[in-house]
Symmetry: D2
Subunit: 306 residues, 4 copies
């Protein structure tokens, strides 16, 4: 029989030490441990690794985790919301601010602060963002793909901890299927008052389909659902393949029927994830579960190397 073990906590404990104990627990603890097991396999064996990013993860302080994974060759494809890329650019020249989720929003407006739950962004940072984008956005009479545009932006960023810059350096494609739905979209619209700039709305579809088609074995890490989750999963629909490993860190639930909260099992019925895939959803705030999962997995990889 496969028993539950009671966790023993001690001072100075390493993250992976705790996670290994969680494997023999119930509920969220066990799911987190399963996620680490799957991520260890994804990173230590030969998988095409897709990483999807929704939610305000960069404003919350998760930027370096993503950019380090890219720099270390642990993400082959990033699918992101526009917002995370906008805030990645902002972190290149400024900082987000620790704020109060109960602050008066009308007062914040007067003080030039925009709120993202308990994080603020200064209006001045958006002014600077405009300057940078208006300079960086290319002139193009021929349609570019979204990922090409993001490479252009990545090349212009000097900060090596930037997600966009890291992806540029490592030639990791970033797909942002709702590029217009972000300040990048607003800046592109502004810039086109005076300059030609065409981005092909369907330009990225084929590129990701080709990657999925060519992947012998593939794994996906889904942070928070949304368009990035769906875009990555749907690319498998037009290939004979499906994801072999899948991890989802989310606060969304299945029962209201939205794709963000859909179980990974549901994706099996569509052929997006394989019937025999290893897969787990960890319910909870990804600002807690993502750092834990990455820290525990890196610890294991380090030990293997030695």
């Amino acid at each position: 029989m496969d028993y539950i073990n009671q966790i023993d906590i001690k001072a100075g404990m390493e993250i992976d030490e705790l996670v290994r104990m969680m494997e023999r627990c119930g509920f969220g603890a066990r799911r987190l441990a399963e996620a680490v097991n799957i991520y260890e396999e994804m990173l230590s064996e030969d998988y095409t690794r897709v990483f999807t990013l929704a939610g305000a993860m960069v404003p919350a302080g998760m930027r370096n985790i993503i950019s380090s994974l890219i720099r270390d060759g642990r993400i082959d494809v990033l699918v992101s919301t526009g917002a995370n890329l906008v805030h990645d650019i902002i972190e290149g020249y400024s900082h987000h601010i620790r704020g109060d989720p109960l602050a008066c929003d009308a007062d914040l407006r007067d003080e030039g602060l925009s709120r993202i739950f308990d994080v603020y962004v200064e209006d001045d940072d958006f002014v600077k963002f405009e300057e940078i984008l208006q300079e960086a956005l290319p002139e193009s009479s021929e349609p570019m793909t979204g990922s090409e545009l993001l490479r252009v932006l990545g090349r212009r960023i000097e900060d090596e901890r930037s997600i966009l810059r890291s992806a540029y350096d490592r030639r990791v494609p970033i797909f942002c299927p709702a590029l217009s739905d972000s300040m990048i979209g607003l800046q592109a619209w502004l810039c086109r008052q005076t300059r030609e700039l065409y981005v092909d709305a369907f330009g990225d579809v084929g590129e990701l389909v080709d990657i999925c088609y060519g992947a012998e074995r593939s794994g996906i890490v889904i942070i928070g659902g949304g368009v990035p989750k769906n875009f990555a999963l749907q690319s498998m629909l037009v290939t004979p393949n499906s994801f072999d490993l899948a991890i989802q860190l989310t606060t969304d639930r299945p029962e209201a029927g939205g794709l963000s909260g859909a179980s990974l099992s549901e994706a099996v019925s569509w052929g997006k994830i394989g019937a025999g895939a290893k897969k787990v959803t960890v319910y909870g705030d990804a600002t807690i579960t993502l750092p834990l999962m990455v820290a525990a997995t890196l610890t294991r990889l380090e030990k293997k190397r030695v």
Copy 2:
């Protein structure tokens, strides 16, 4: 003092009768009643009405609610996920199927059924979808906007209960900022193997900004967050205006920081929603709260007319 009244239920009760009682209750009941009050004002006075649609609302049976609101002139701008439009097209020639959320997904895959929580879609419907799209997608060497493409599709649909067709008939623009993130995106990619079809990724940005700029008074109904919510709200950022009325029906919560679950108050700090706006979030499954809100509001409008 403003007292709580205890609800009295009786057989044969009308929806608005109950909602009016809920106004003097607490918790979700009161929020639902506030939503109806705001929606009544939005529909009976002169507002530019933006409606955003995420979640699998069409597969769940909410299609006619949306298309009727459009036909009756109660939506001026629709912002949608691609998925809802795909399933709107499918409903034009077939039906979704009542399924079992606990079915074995590998078996469903073998039976040619794709699952959306407790709703199934038949593979054959996607085959037909491909035929229709491959015929309907236009040839265009010049970049179209996404909303132009959706108008082309809407014109080809004969079913008058279709959202796309209703919007075409009533000249209501539909914006789908993540058009590539849907089967429409996959079909567009396929179609371009043999035909020119360019959709401008930023084409819709200016059109919605112009509408927001020109709106003297505006209201927004947000179903389920996601890209549609953000795209509609961000358009206010580059105008001196902001939404005066706002209703959000969602299962998402603020504390994990994602935009889908962000409070409407947070949008005040950004200037997307006015400091003095009337606004309410009703937490819960929109397949329950949307029909209730619409039914109660239509009842009130009907009474006013008499």
Copy 3:
């Protein structure tokens, strides 16, 4: 095949008209419709009907729904938190107040208002509560059961809309397994400084077990989980019976492992609910779903009678 039907909304719609349409929808809407089908069977056929009540349903305005169900013979056993009974007594001589969930709680404290999300209670009402209880609590040197004590309190309440009074009038037992965890508990403690009052902590167990044992067919409605849910379900453990019909209206989810959010299916493994039972959980705020379920069910019962 069993198709999804798209809902059609019209002005003046009755609640049950909408609920019947929801039966052919997906997600929460369908679950609500299933709950009404099960509740219709529970109320129109010969079932022993257990109703469990957690959450602040009385402060939110749901008191008359419960007391009417009792008066009309539709609840045979009520299992409740202490808080709902305390607020039932308060509603007998005062009102709860519609408040602001974002009010400053330190200010409310100074103003003599206690907050329950967006509902306030005045300190004066608790002063009066003390007077009433100190007079009403019996002297007893022999141990009473909790339900006997609640009958004593029910008899003293004049307000016919009271849950306690209605249960007293209809001889419906009320079980409150955590009686000490409420202001009734605090008042009992106070009263015992000067008077003998013994309530037997295990006194109710046998009474509910006997009811469950004697029930040929039984149904349960669970509002919000907690101790009332568990106490009612566990009584089946020591009988050869199990619930044949079960409805759960809750915002809790299963994956964190707590009993409140546990699926009704889980209760089948324990033998609390029958393997062949009809059962459904409606996720959402019970201040919305309970009135809908009761209104739709009463409409159907009324039509049957005619």
Copy 4:
């Protein structure tokens, strides 16, 4: 200005190292870090420490965390659901089993397994539980308090990792306001067929009120809401005191109005928590957040001692 710092992950990271970084993040990560700061103060300075325990924490593997906190003098009062104590007794002679949350519950029933999400309990363990309780439950013609009864049970348990035994050894009172709502309640009822056993339903109220009254400074850790949360907080109502430090680890949300999900701020309006108290709610599965909080805090205490 108070900036967000981006987290840097490295192999072999200690838990507290990560938590310290989280302090400068947003969302759940920051809340977890705040909880550790508060817990560090609660454990390193002179506070009366109340710990409330709901949810199936013992079946999930959290038993040793609680019992070690008790043994190390870090809990002065434990308020628990009956279920956690029942499963604490079971862990003294057997183990819970790692199960499958998607198993067929009717099959489990036939196999003699009862399911708690993804944890199983064997029927045989309940048979043994009955033997133990029938032997251990005392004969008493005079009313005992609930905490006295739990001390009697604790004395009989040999397993030093037991919560009940640890509390007995350290003279830490355990209050279980819904004692009848558990297998202990069912066994007490059974035992009384042949033996006198009186437990006074209100016996514990005064004991906890006295502790709260006498506490110069007090702190509370709330795991998962429910009756334990309310019982501990309400004890402050009849004292001039209130909690100075408060931590809540829960998956419940405020907006449906139940006490389990109520914000700690709401408790300020009642006078249960002080207006100037340090307090934080960490939303998420406590099988993840509790071990993290305890491990990080113990690490800090260890460092202080050196």
